[in-house]
């Protein structure tokens, strides 16, 4: 345990990292039998589902209910590790009843949660072949999106929203719109999604609103972003996506103290790589270099973060901070070999740029911009690469686009944009 303690910054993060890896798995005394499935006392759906399992252990229905309860609780609380319990419950259900449609749907959904996009796609297609089910269509749409198969993603999203126009299909349409460069249209669709969400499903509403907030943030519309994050938080207390989003928005507006406390809150609930990096940037900006370094180390320590490590984000951080460019490039290349989404291409381009391989970097950067996504990070990377290649006009245009779109898209990198722009203007 001591090697972990040396890495963590505060008691809060320490307790988060330790608690999240232990609370769902370890019993209080070595002698006590380890319960097969953790009872989450404050999650009524989990408590009810465990009762259902106990009442009919020979039926798959209880295990399906339990898996669903874990997934929903994971979403609501940010406790990602409950997804592992959900997986075990799904496996139990499928052991009892291998063809159980509900269990197979949850299995497909969990493949996506764990970034097993190809497996998710395959199972989604199998489910769709058995019945024109909107859940399966949603899985297929999401898998194509994550794999970077954008034309197929758009095609399936259209098929889905035509088959069943509802909150979740509107949200998928919104994401595809945004990826394809229509941020205003995407905002309208997210609003429609929020309006049509099941009023009883607070987390679903909070999720949609946090997506809308992220979209506003990416467009530099910080006040609007904060408003919808607040609405999201009013529906689901301490909702980690909204805490993070609001913190990032506060940081963009220069309020670093409240930003730090909000992002810490998100990180304690849900120790994601990206949250640690964002908090690290805030700490560095506050002048607390030691804290920043520890957070970057936390982010880099995939074993500590377990399932929550994000190869994309780690490679980007290593490259951004010139920590270990060979490692960054190796991660980015491995990631890109697996999936061809625009962000995998973008991060690979950035790592190539950092290694001085500018022509290859430009090739990947163009791939990242292939569906005209309006995202300051993509413009920034493309601009710096053009600059390195001596194409100052294009560089200026791209860097200006980045800063006009989202002036604080990254607390550290936005400064580089400004410096580079003044140097080449």
């Amino acid at each position: 345990m001591s090697k972990y303690i040396s890495l963590v910054l505060s008691a809060g993060i320490l307790s988060a990292a330790v608690a999240f890896s232990s609370c769902t798995r370890v019993s209080s005394t070595p002698q006590a039998p380890v319960p097969e499935f953790p009872l989450i006392a404050d999650s009524e759906p989990v408590v009810k589902a465990i009762k259902a399992v106990d009442a009919a252990p020979q039926s798959s229905a209880g295990y399906v209910q339990l898996a669903g309860a874990y997934i929903n609780t994971a979403r609501r609380t940010g406790n990602f590790y409950l997804n592992a319990d959900a997986r075990r419950a799904v496996a139990k259900a499928l052991e009892i009843s291998p063809q159980d449609s509900s269990a197979r749907r949850l299995k497909a959904s969990l493949h996506l949660t764990y970034h097993e996009f190809a497996e998710g796609l395959k199972l989604g297609e199998e489910l769709y072949a058995e019945g024109t089910d909107s859940f399966a269509m949603g899985v297929i749409t999401d898998a194509h999106t994550q794999l970077g198969n954008y034309p197929q993603a758009a095609e399936w999203a259209q098929k889905l929203v035509d088959a069943k126009p509802n909150s979740s299909s509107y949200a998928r349409a919104a994401l595809i719109r945004a990826l394809n460069g229509d941020n205003d249209g995407a905002a309208e669709l997210y609003k429609l999604s929020a309006r049509t969400a099941d009023p009883a499903d607070k987390e679903a509403q909070s999720w949609t609103l946090s997506q809308l907030g992220d979209l506003y943030w990416r467009n530099g519309r910080y006040d609007e972003a904060e408003r919808v994050y607040d609405e999201s938080l009013s529906l689901t207390e301490n909702y980690n996506l909204a805490l993070l989003g609001k913190g990032r928005t506060r940081a963009a507006k220069g309020d670093l103290d409240s930003a730090a406390s909000l992002v810490s809150g998100a990180l304690e609930r849900s120790p994601h790589t990206s949250y640690a990096i964002i908090l690290g940037d805030i700490k560095r900006k506050q002048g607390n270099e030691l804290a920043a370094q520890k957070l970057y180390q936390l982010a880099d320590n995939a074993s500590l973060l377990g399932d929550l490590h994000d190869a994309h984000r780690i490679a980007l951080m290593l490259a951004d901070h010139d920590i270990d460019l060979d490692k960054a490039l190796a991660i980015a290349e491995a990631d890109y070999a697996g999936i061809k989404d625009i962000y995998a291409a973008d991060i690979l381009s950035w790592c190539l740029y950092k290694k001085g391989r500018f022509a290859e970097a430009r090739e990947k950067s163009r791939e990242a911009l292939r569906i005209n996504t309006k995202d300051a990070v993509l413009f920034y990377h493309a601009g710096m690469i053009e600059n390195a290649l001596g194409n100052h006009t294009e560089a200026r245009q791209l860097l200006r686009s980045a800063i006009e779109l989202n002036p604080a898209f990254d607390l550290m990198q936005a400064e580089t944009v400004r410096k580079t722009l003044s140097a080449i203007s």
Partner: protein, 342 residues
């Protein structure tokens, strides 16, 4: 801003788009509480009843959710009770957006006349409702405006058919179907999943497939039988099964005081599955029907199959009104909803 609605009549003479027979009909505002909306029913509820040129009446707006059910029944059969008491009404204190419409009988029958009696060939009608939403354009060019074409996302004839009979993978497809295309769902009526789940969880014997008894209840109508006599609700417009709610309009309504919540199973021929009164305990009836606890399957028409229930047998907000729209006024919004979700 007050919400308004219109009523459109579609029949063989009007074409597909029908004919508008009522416009600018008013939806009453929400029942906020005694200070903002005093004497709600007298001032706002009753005045919102619209009249139609054919003598019909119509109402659209918030009402108390009269339907009573312990939702545990659909939550993996997580029931507090499998008897007639001991459940908790999951919809207690909730309001529901309601549409009530009263139509002269002769406007609904095949003969366009009031049937001579319950055995007349035109006595049974089939009813279902649908809800639709607008799709959107995923990609441009142009803003993601809602498409003109409405997509059917929900369809209901018999209560609970989706929950009880249609398997998960076909629920979306079924909700988008018109009854004329119901053949695709037929195999699932013959061998549904829920009875098997009842068997697994509660260890009760269920009738073996094919469940022709369920086909009668959901898709062809109740045939000639000793309780109701000839032509109870059998209605096969084209000789093949379709799922809709069947109503024999020539069977006289039972006076409210004498109604039995179990409808036909309780000996009340004016109740479900002869139409479905808001008062009818369709949850208990459907549970018993899928478990084979009805006279159609004598071998399983025994306890506990014919005594199953969710343990909720009445609407806790009180009995129905004796005048149109019959549904109780909405619960006021300034009172916290009593905790009844346990």
């Amino acid at each position: 801003m007050p919400q308004t609605y219109s009523v459109r009549r579609v029949d063989p003479t009007t074409g597909k788009n029908g004919k508008v027979i009522g416009t600018d009909l008013k939806v009453p505002p929400a029942n906020v509480g005694p200070r903002v909306t005093p004497d709600y029913e007298q001032n706002l509820g009753q005045p919102a009843i619209g009249t139609l040129p054919n003598g019909g009446r119509v109402f659209a707006g918030n009402r108390d959710e009269y339907f009573y059910i312990d939702l545990g029944v659909f939550d993996g059969l997580n029931l507090r009770s499998v008897g007639e008491t001991g459940g908790i009404d999951s919809t207690k204190g909730l309001n529901v957006s309601s549409i009530a419409i009263e139509v002269p009988i002769q406007e609904l029958t095949r003969s366009r006349a009031v049937p001579a009696g319950p055995t007349s060939p035109d006595a049974v009608i089939g009813v279902w409702a649908t809800a639709s939403r607008q799709s959107v354009k995923v990609l441009g060019p142009g803003a993601p405006s809602k498409e003109d074409k409405w997509k059917q996302v929900s369809r209901l004839g018999n209560p609970l058919v989706n929950e009880v009979v249609i398997p998960l993978k076909l629920k979306d497809a079924f909700n988008a179907l018109s009854p004329e295309n119901d053949a695709v769902a037929a195999p699932f009526v013959l061998d549904p999943e829920l009875p098997k789940l009842l068997q697994a969880v509660y260890g009760i014997a269920i009738p073996p497939a094919p469940r022709n008894d369920l086909v009668s209840i959901f898709a062809t109508g109740i045939p000639v039988n000793p309780v109701t006599g000839p032509n109870y609700t059998t209605f096969l417009s084209d000789g093949i099964p379709h799922e809709y709610l069947r109503l024999n309009v020539a069977i006289a309504p039972t006076a409210i005081a004498s109604q039995n919540r179990l409808g036909l199973l309780g000996g009340d021929v004016a109740g479900f599955p002869n139409g479905r009164r808001v008062f009818d305990d369709v949850t208990d009836i459907a549970l018993r029907a899928v478990a084979g606890g009805t006279p159609f399957t004598p071998a399983t028409n025994v306890a506990p199959n014919n005594t199953l229930g969710d343990g909720v047998s009445f609407n806790p907000e009180g009995p129905l009104l004796t005048r149109f729209p019959y549904l109780l006024p909405p619960n006021q919004g300034n009172q916290p909803r009593s905790s009844n979700q346990q």
